[in-house]
């Protein structure tokens, strides 16, 4: 099969009719205010630990992948690996440079993950389209293996999962669920704001040009190589921050096994179901991916009672989850974010 442009095949260009910009700023501010002020009023520890924190972190991971894949059209199955690099880098920074404040360690850990992304992204200069999953998968497996194999990264801990150091900023302890939520929320807000600026800058426009037609972009003078590499760097940096948060704010341990291929698939699901090339889509997709299994668990407990054994319940969940994914892919080609935009327009008219 000959194709005009493999990048365009992968991520078809499309236009979403969003609400006007001031309204979106207002909406963003309302959501943020709700998350900062409203949530702590009602949330319990269960909500923080099982729902809000993983939702925010996976949204961030999805956002990172969205920069690389949704905006720049470079397919990547290395999200888990970038998250692992971020987690281990932050762990080692906290361990070996105790004077460094937590936010700086987080940011540096993210940047180190970004460098890993840059290296893994190098083959994208020559390999295109779907074949790109090869180098990112190679990175995924190699990095996972390295962290399990080389003792230095985990400070020669006897077990493969190591407990995270205490979280504190300016002497304030953040290890309570509410504290970890605050840390996660503020990191996610800052990174999202930076990403928001980035995709509207010249860099972001170059990314989209490469995605929609690489050859055409090269012809009109878009620096294709720089666009691809910067997309890998930016995406992996965001994923790295997400990985560090996953280890420190969510799990409380640093464990390479929690950043396996399934995590990469999860991030991929998040952006495809949420909406490729849409920052908001990452959050919607994450809500779907994180909440569906929880909902299914509660639902199966309510419907079936405790009589059925856990293996069967998890099999039923697997089937339903898979079927939901397929039906969303069929019904909503541009992701759930398109559904919400349509609803919004119907409300306004």
């Amino acid at each position: 099969m000959t194709s005009a442009s493999s990048a365009a095949d992968l991520v078809p260009g499309r236009r979403l009719a969003w609400p006007a910009l001031p309204l979106r700023y207002a909406g963003f501010a309302v959501l943020l205010a709700l998350a900062v002020v409203g949530v702590p009023l009602v949330a319990t520890d269960y909500w923080y630990n099982a729902i809000l924190i993983p939702f925010l972190i996976m949204a961030l991971a999805g956002l990172g992948l969205n920069l690389t894949m949704g905006y720049a059209g470079q397919a990547s199955l290395g999200t888990g690996a970038f998250m692992a690099v971020g987690a281990y880098a932050t762990y080692n920074l906290l361990l070996r440079l105790p004077g460094l404040p937590l936010p700086a360690s987080l940011a540096l850990g993210g940047l180190i993950a970004g460098l890993a992304g840059l290296v893994i992204g190098l083959p994208s200069l020559r390999i295109k389209g779907f074949y790109l999953i090869a180098p990112t998968l190679a990175g995924q497996f190699l990095i996972e293996w390295t962290f399990n194999q080389v003792g230095w990264f985990s400070n020669y801990a006897s077990s493969s999962s190591i407990s995270a150091p205490r979280l504190a900023i300016l002497g304030r302890d953040l290890s309570s669920p509410a504290g970890r939520y605050a840390l996660t929320l503020s990191s996610v807000a800052v990174v999202t704001a930076i990403a928001w600026r980035l995709v509207r800058s010249q860099t972001g426009r170059n990314w989209r040009a490469v995605r929609d037609g690489e050859t055409a972009a090269a012809v009109i003078g878009v620096p294709v190589a720089r666009a691809k590499l910067s997309a890998f760097f930016a995406g992996a940096t965001v994923c790295g921050v997400a990985g560090a948060l996953w280890a420190f704010a969510y799990l409380g341990t640093v464990d390479a096994r929690s950043f396996d291929l399934d995590r990469s698939f999860q991030a991929m699901f998040i952006i495809i179901i949420g909406g490729l090339g849409s920052l908001g889509g990452s959050f919607i997709g994450s809500a779907f991916i994180v909440l569906t299994p929880i909902l299914l668990t509660h639902l199966s407990e309510a419907v079936l009672g405790a009589g059925l054994d856990g293996g069967q319940v998890s099999n039923i969940q697997r089937v339903i989850f898979g079927a939901l994914i397929i039906s969303f892919l069929i019904k909503e080609p541009n992701g759930l974010v398109a559904l919400i935009v349509r609803l919004w327009r119907r409300l306004v008219r």
Binding site: L142, N315, V319
Partner: protein
């Protein structure tokens, strides 16, 4: 030296088995442009069905027929429910859809037939056979021979029959193929059914070797570098890629593994695949996409 040869030969034999799984991918990719991640789930589903039936004292041939019928039904269902609504969508979307499909197949298969490990005895004794200076497992030889025979049969089928010609037409240009009257839905269902048959053979051979269990689905991750090296669209590529990956994997495990202090088999094949891609960006035998503005 004979140890090196033995490792190499063992790797090549394993490579034929990888190729067998990879061919299932190639068939589907050629016909529908889908990288079918659910191939691993299909291998598991076929093996699990077969073993459950034989444990109910069905003779081998009947169990094989029933399993085949189930795989054909699955193929028709996939065409209806998955491929038809997703026609003309991006490759990544289709890939994700097959990931969802693999969840569904794995879930249903284990729901109905349990998740315990089943022994599968095909009646081939696993005795060492001396071939000149080296010793090989008889089971591996028989498995590789049957895989090889299947590969040749499939190549002939797709080279000589009308369906094969239609498949190549669709792979070349789906719209032109449609306009000269090739019925795409029928072709898709046929190809998925053939892929189901390949999954059955692969499931039996792999299942007899390592037990019928969930980890059978991971043969996908072994077949992926094979495909990438060979090119997504070439049956010959799948065979050559399988042999390369099998041999390189076995040798790396023996000679490189101890140097690095652990098993390298999770990632070595992928690194190899990247090296091949850097030289040939569409695999050894894959068709290069022509880039237009």
């Amino acid at each position: 030296m004979s140890f090196f040869l033995e490792t190499l030969a063992g790797g090549l034999l394993a490579g034929v088995m990888y190729a067998l799984v990879a061919i299932g991918f190639v068939l589907i990719y050629k016909a529908s442009g889908v990288f079918n991640y659910a191939q691993g789930a299909m291998v598991l589903c076929a093996a699990l069905t077969f073993v459950t039936l034989t444990e109910r004292d069905l003779p081998f041939w009947l169990a094989g027929l029933v399993t085949l019928a189930i795989m054909v039904t699955l193929a028709v269902a996939v065409e209806r429910v998955l491929l038809r609504p997703l026609v003309n969508r991006s490759q990544m979307t289709l890939f994700m859809a097959t990931l969802g499909l693999s969840y569904v197949i794995e879930g249903i298969a284990q729901l109905l037939m349990g998740a315990s490990v089943h022994e599968l005895d095909l009646g081939i004794p696993d005795l060492p056979v001396a071939l000149g200076p080296i010793q090989l497992s008889r089971f591996d030889l028989v498995a590789a021979a049957s895989a090889g025979a299947l590969v040749i049969a499939l190549s002939l089928f797709f080279e000589r029959t009308r369906i094969g010609v239609a498949l190549r037409a669709v792979a070349d240009d789906p719209q032109a193929a449609l306009s000269i009257g090739i019925r795409l839905p029928v072709l898709w269902a046929t190809v998925w059914a053939v892929a189901g048959f390949v999954a059955l053979v692969a499931g039996l051979l792999w299942g007899a070797r390592q037990g019928v269990q969930f980890s059978l689905t991971f043969v996908v991750l072994k077949a992926l570098p094979v495909l990438i090296i060979g090119g997504f669209t070439s049956i010959a590529g799948a065979i050559v890629g399988g042999l390369i990956v099998g041999a390189a994997d076995a040798l790396a495990e023996i000679y490189l593994g101890p140097l690095l202090g652990g098993s390298v088999s999770t990632w070595f094949a992928y690194l190899l695949a990247v090296a091949f891609l850097l030289v040939r960006p569409a695999g050894l035998f894959g068709e290069r996409a022509i880039e237009r503005v």
